[in-house]
C-alpha cells in the first residue's frame, strides 16, 4: 500500500467515526421528537449508526493491524511514548464499548414504537448520548495520536 492509500484508509476510519457521531445526533433528535410521522427516520438513523460504526471497526482495524506499527515506532522512539501507552491503548479498547452499545441500540429503536413507549424513548436518548460521548473520546484520542506522530516527525524522529 503506497503512502496515498495508507493516508486514505487512515483518514477514512476517522471520517466514518464522525459520520457515526452525526448519525447518533440525528437519532437523538428523531428519538426526542418521536411521533408516528418520524418512525421511519428513527429506523434509518439507527441503520446509519450501525453501518458507520461497523465500517469504522473494519477500516480502522485494517489500518491499525497493518499500518499503525510504523506510527507506534515513531511515538515510542520520540519523547511522546505516553501518547501510545495511554491514548492508543484506551482508544482501541474503549471502541469495543462503543461497538457493543451500537449493536444494542437497534434492539431499542427498531423493536419499540418510541412515540408510544416512554421507557424505550428514554433508553434510546440515554444510550445515544452515552455512545456519542464515547465516540467523542475515541475521535479525540485519535486526533491526539495523529498530532503526536506529526510532532515526532517534525522533531526528526524516523
Amino acid at each position: 500500500m503506497n503512502e496515498f492509500t495508507n493516508s486514505l484508509v487512515m483518514l477514512s476510519h476517522a471520517v466514518f467515526g464522525v459520520f457515526a457521531n452525526l448519525a447518533l445526533v440525528w437519532l437523538y433528535a428523531e428519538a426526542l421528537n418521536a411521533s408516528k410521522n418520524n418512525l421511519k427516520r428513527v429506523k434509518l438513523a439507527t441503520y446509519h449508526v450501525v453501518v458507520w460504526i461497523t465500517l469504522t471497526f473494519v477500516v480502522g482495524g485494517f489500518w491499525y493491524i497493518g499500518y499503525y506499527g510504523y506510527d507506534k515506532g515513531i511515538l515510542l522512539k520520540s519523547g511522546l511514548a505516553n501518547i501510545h501507552k495511554f491514548f492508543t491503548e484506551t482508544k482501541e479498547h474503549i471502541f469495543f464499548i462503543v461497538l457493543i452499545l451500537s449493536y444494542y441500540l437497534p434492539f431499542i429503536t427498531l423493536r419499540h414504537d418510541l412515540s408510544q413507549n416512554e421507557q424505550a424513548k428514554k433508553a434510546a436518548l440515554v444510550l445515544t448520548m452515552v455512545v456519542g460521548l464515547l465516540v467523542f473520546y475515541v475521535e479525540g484520542a485519535g486526533a491526539i495520536i495523529a498530532q503526536g506522530v506529526k510532532a515526532a516527525l517534525m522533531l526528526g524522529v524516523r
Binding site: 501507552k85 495511554f86 491503548e89 479498547h93 461497538l99 457493543i100 449493536y103 423493536r111 419499540h112 424505550a120
Partner: protein, 96 residues
Amino acid sequence: MKGLDKTTLAFGLSAAVVMLLNSLMVILKESYHPFFEFLTSLSGNHWASQGVIDVVLFFVLGVVFSKWHLKAGLGVVVGSAVVSFCLIIGYFAPFF
C-alpha cells in the same frame, strides 16, 4: 407506560456483561502475556480477536439470556458502560 420487551432486556444484560468482560480481557492480556499470545493466536492479532469475541459473545449471550429469561434494564447497561470505561482508563492512567 410500556416497557422494553424481554428480548431487548436480555440483550441489555448481554451488553452489560460483554462490556465488563471486555475491560477484564484488556487488563488480563496486558498483565498476563500468555493470554495476550492466546488472543493473537486466534486471528493473528490480539485486538481483532478481542473484537470478534466481544461481538460474537454479545449475540450468543443475548440469545441464551432470552431463553433463560434473564434481563437487565437501562441502569445496568449504562452502569456497566461507565464502569468498563473507568476500568480501561484507570488501568492505563499510570502511563499518562
